[in-house]
């Protein structure tokens, strides 16, 4: 089995990153936006892993980074969702477009 070249991998991760970003810009539901962020983070994780695997297999930096990113993403999501829930209580909506009272 031939090895998949790194460029393929990178293509996937980059695509994932920008898909996530697109989602972040276009979705109006806050939860969906969070999911989009997760996509972006995951693309980063793929990056780390493939760089580690393909380019610098002698050290484990990338892998470790990935683990920490996953952890922190979870924590971030938890806090974010808590905030969103709280927001829902006061706004009765989790539509990001409607949360624009603070402006100018």
């Amino acid at each position: 089995m031939t090895e998949i070249p790194i460029s393929h991998m990178l293509f996937v991760s980059t695509a994932l990153f920008f898909i996530g970003m697109y989602g972040f810009f276009t979705r109006r539901n806050m939860i969906t936006m969070l999911m989009a962020i997760e996509l972006m983070l995951n693309s980063v994780n793929i990056n780390f892993v493939i760089f580690n695997k393909y380019l610098y297999p002698e050290k484990m930096d990338g892998i470790f980074f990935t683990i920490f990113v996953i952890t922190i993403a979870a924590a971030e999501a938890a806090v974010a969702i808590a905030i969103i829930i709280n927001l829902y209580r006061s706004h009765q909506s989790i539509d990001v477009e409607e949360a624009d009272n603070l402006k100018n």
Partner: protein
């Protein structure tokens, strides 16, 4: 083994002490007594006294037994400089804590406030000491995520929730971009260790792109234009003490890190980041000032003014010499005092009357002369008027910036000072000159806020006139 252990304790002294405080708080929270009907006993005052005393001790402890050395495979470092920077943040936190007394006294979740607050501080400490991107990233996130929760700390307020949402969304977005940058860095260099990066820098386009992403992440935290949009909304929506914390401590810590990272780690790409910083500085100063001119809400105004201040700091940072680093650090101290004094007054007034508009402050002098003077002096310091220390801070920042030969930048900065003076004076005008039918009633300050404000006031006056602090920072940087 014992030696190592002692070293470990000494090197991580700040972090460990902070952890200890957090755990004491946690313990107190767990063991909190409840009333017969299950509601917690209202012992806020004693909690606040304890917390403030602990923070004071923490701050005082920061002066002693600072050693230098590395830990965790050289990814954590502690030097005199980091110890000093951490202690600056300790002081700032103490001041914020003192000033939040009025607000917290009637709040239901005092303990949680402190735990979250100190957790972010811990994150900043880690960040300052980090010698590895991983640790840096961990510190960054640790200092951001609890802050979002803090922004939402007035749970019942609509604005608070919205602000928190904006903050968490934006910080998640920015950290995603930062991580993307770091991952690419990793790809190009194979290492994320600060000591190894300089050798691995080759100035390629990809690395430059990564650097831009890194600076953008910094820019987000210090609210440099165009990464600043969240700032005003969050500052306005958050409870005033949190705003204070965000605007000085959080920003200050990032600026410390940014100085270290740019000056030491990315010195090899100095030409590139210098230009980026210049562009950001100009954009930040101008935008911050322009937006601040027409604000009616004081918190929002100070948010934009703090953006403008960051512009000035970036000018200093663009100096790329020891003076640059020194003046940035020095200015942060001054900025902490000045901004906390201004926000401290606003915090007290806001907590007691809920008034935050400039027009509410008309005739303030008539009822609260002392607070008015403190506010005015703080604003003068922010505007850079002598004999307040703000003058010295700004002067040295711009001097450092000019030291690199970029006089245009300095001219733009100098002109921006005029605009900034305008909106600061607008507040002063409302306070001193305008008559008001219903001025804010006379406020009786509790001991803690009063102490906090006085410390700020002394700091504002002394830090500049007495050259000691500047010379000390200079020595710290020179010894690196």
């Amino acid at each position: 083994m014992t030696d190592q252990l002692i070293d470990f304790f000494l090197l991580m002294k700040s972090e460990l002490l902070l952890l200890a405080v957090i755990f004491i708080m946690l313990f107190m929270n767990i063991t909190a007594k409840e009333n017969a009907d299950g509601t917690p006993v209202d012992n806020n005052h004693s909690i606040l006294v304890t917390a403030n005393i602990l923070l004071l001790l923490n701050f005082l402890a920061g002066f002693f037994m600072n050693t230098s050395g590395n830990l965790f495979g050289d990814s954590f470092t502690s030097t005199e400089l980091t110890a000093f920077q951490k202690n600056i943040l300790n002081l700032g936190t103490l001041l914020v804590s003192l000033q939040s007394y009025t607000w917290l006294k009637t709040h239901k979740h005092v303990m949680e406030f402190y735990m979250l607050l100190l957790a972010t501080l811990l994150g900043m400490f880690l960040m300052i000491s980090s010698q590895h991107m991983l640790l840096f990233y961990l510190g960054l996130e640790l200092s951001t995520i609890p802050l979002a929760a803090l922004v939402n700390f007035d749970l019942e307020k609509k604005k608070s929730a919205e602000a928190a949402m904006k903050m968490i969304m934006m910080s998640a977005f920015s950290s995603a971009l930062l991580l993307f940058g770091i991952s690419l860095f990793y790809g190009t260099m194979g290492t994320l260790h600060f000591q190894e990066i300089p050798a691995a820098l080759n100035g390629s386009d990809l690395q430059l792109y990564c650097l831009i992403l890194l600076i953008a992440a910094f820019g987000f935290k210090i609210s440099a234009v165009p990464f600043h949009f969240w700032t005003a909304d969050v500052y306005e929506g958050a409870p005033v003490p949190v705003t204070s914390y965000l605007s000085v401590i959080s920003k200050g810590s990032i600026l410390f890190v940014m100085t270290t990272v740019l000056y030491n780690v990315f010195a090899g790409m100095g030409v590139e980041w210098y230009l980026i910083i210049c562009v950001l500085a100009v954009a930040t100063m101008i935008t911050g000032n322009i937006f601040a001119v027409r604000q009616q809400n004081l918190k929002r105004l100070l948010a934009f003014s703090s953006i403008a201040q960051v512009g000035f700091i970036l000018v200093g940072m663009s100096g790329q010499n020891t003076e640059g680093a020194v003046s940035v650090t020095y200015f942060i101290i001054i900025y902490i005092f000045s901004n906390l004094a201004a926000l401290g007054v606003i915090s007290v007034v806001s907590a007691l009357t809920g008034k935050e508009k400039i027009s509410d402050y008309k005739g303030f002098y008539k009822t609260n002369p002392m607070l008015s003077w403190i506010l005015a002096i703080a604003l003068f310091s922010l505007a850079g008027i002598p004999p307040t220390s703000g003058f010295f801070g700004k002067f040295f920042l711009l001097l450092a910036g000019a030291g690199n030969g970029n006089y245009t930048l300095v001219i733009i900065a100098a002109l921006n000072m005029i605009v900034s003076l305008y909106y600061y004076l607008k507040i002063v005008k409302a306070v001193f000159m305008d008559a008001n039918e219903e001025p804010i009633p006379t406020i009786n300050l509790a001991f803690f806020p009063k102490a906090g404000l006085l410390i700020c006031l002394i700091g504002i006056i002394v830090t500049g006139l007495a050259s000691g602090s500047y010379n000390y920072i200079q020595e710290l940087f020179a010894s690196l």
